[in-house]
């Protein structure tokens, strides 16, 4: 039970960090990283919280792998868009947030 809590707590902490990054960061690449942090935290929590009894539950593992693939695809698209944004606008922030630090 103690080990489980450590995984779950770490997951929760990662989610919290990620959300902070999402809100505080202006640079788009930082935001992409923040998303990945939230995703990783969720998956960690998922793996920890869904353990039932002694035998490991295979379903969360399958779902987490699927989730990671999806998150990878999303990150790839996000990075591609960041590159396109830098090429088109010359900076890696959104137009309405440019005057922010």
């Amino acid at each position: 039970m103690a080990a489980l809590s450590i995984y779950a707590l770490t997951g929760a902490a990662l989610v919290g960090l990620g959300f902070f990054g999402l809100l505080a960061a202006r640079h788009l690449l930082r935001r992409v990283v923040a998303f990945n942090l939230i995703g990783s935290g969720l998956f960690l929590y998922f793996g920890a919280a869904a353990t039932r009894g002694a035998a490991p539950d295979p379903v969360p593992q399958a779902l987490i792998i699927t989730g990671i693939v999806v998150a990878l695809a999303a990150s790839a698209l996000a990075v591609a868009l960041v590159v396109a944004q830098v090429r088109a606008a010359g900076r890696a922030t959104l137009p309405e947030e440019e005057d922010a630090p």
Binding site: G39, F46, R52, P60, V70, A74, L77, A84, Q85, A89
Partner: protein, 489 residues
Amino acid sequence: MSALLACLVLPLLGALAAVALPRRAVAAVLAGVVALTLVAAVGLAVAVHSGGVVRLALGGWSPPLGIALAADGLGAAFVLLTALVMAGVAAAARDEMTPQGAGPRAAFGFWPLMLLLWGALNAVFLSRDLFNLYVGIELLTLAAVALVAIGGRAEAIAAAMRYLIFALAGSLLYLAGVVLIYGAHGTLDIDLVAARDAAAPDGLALALMTAGLLVKTALFPFHVWLPPAHASAPAPASALLSALVPKASFVILLRLWFEAMPDLGTDRALLLLGVLGAAAILWGSLRALVQARLKLIVAYSTVAQLGYLFLVFPLAGGAAGAQPWTAGAWTGAIFQALSHGLAKAAMFLAAGLFMAAAGSDRLGALRGLARVMPMTAFAFALASVTLISLPPSGGFTAKYLLMTSSFAAGQWIWALVMTLGGLLTAGYLYRPMAALFAREGGEGVQTVARARQAVPLVLAGLAILLGILSAAPFDFLQIGRPEAAEEGP
């Protein structure tokens, strides 16, 4: 059953083919895939109509081990809507998404993305598993974001980036809810979740999932990403984004609140959803009134029209369920989603043709276009009739059902909002109409072939037909209707 599988697999295979095959072969393959998937969607609807809900357990594994797919009246209706809109958009995009017209990159990228979007939409409409729904909606989001960015202009990329940030945040919220559900109940199958014993995290899980889906449905106040994204995409892409994409997350919301966890629908939560919907109707309409560009007007109109969908929650949702009016409200909201899908696709395609002719979508540039393109202008007018919800359109049937329910439920305030919304809609659509039908202007614009003009007309006509022949679709939507939306005594 094979039709159900074909609806999922054909578009995805088509998307692969569109990337892999040499360019000369792509056109023929695309036409084949679109036609076959349309046939499969019609076949699925026929099967549901004649034999009731079509179920499929992937690989022969039934839940909780396997993942269930099912087509009920709701799912099959949206699959059919998607097929019709896709076919129309594909016909329109043949001439618009060409290397000469839209640039080589957009012309190449549009087709696989469109088919990917199609597959993702069908997956969402047919899945009975919360995680499968997550994968579907994530795939949908990625394809949709890419479609916004495809034009390559700076404003389009910024809009796509903003859309992606909102959508990913929404996905993560939804995923967090899914994790909580699995942690508490060890299953993600909708029917098994419905039969669960209540647990402490259920409320939080539903709240998280709902919040995530609201962001993706662009419900007020999470709508800010939608107008720039829909307005800066190429017109055929905008048609898909506005007509279909928000409907997918709305369908998941319906599944959650009416099928998976109807017991959690407290009056206050349902009221909140209704209030946000009402605010969307009024705010979206007011913003649409002051826009100077046609595509922005149409995009803000989407924000407003999506608001009507959320009136279903206070009118039909909740543990109280089974009131005489719930079936009417539930079906009315789905009618609204279907007719808005057809009409909005017609409207964006028409806007694309106007832009092709006049070179701009500023209202001033549209003056007098009705004389040059009477068919397109007529299609725009027909689509407006549905959005204003004047009879005999599908939009009227939808709002009639919702208004009747709101009176029957003693919540006439929603009827007032809908009436105001209708009048505001007439107001913001009058401006482009007045410009189109102006006497002067329209000189020296490019002419557009009649065949291209026919597509929006057909889609807008279907939206009207949905109202004139509303009895059959109404009965169709009752197939496999969740008990929570059952008609009471």
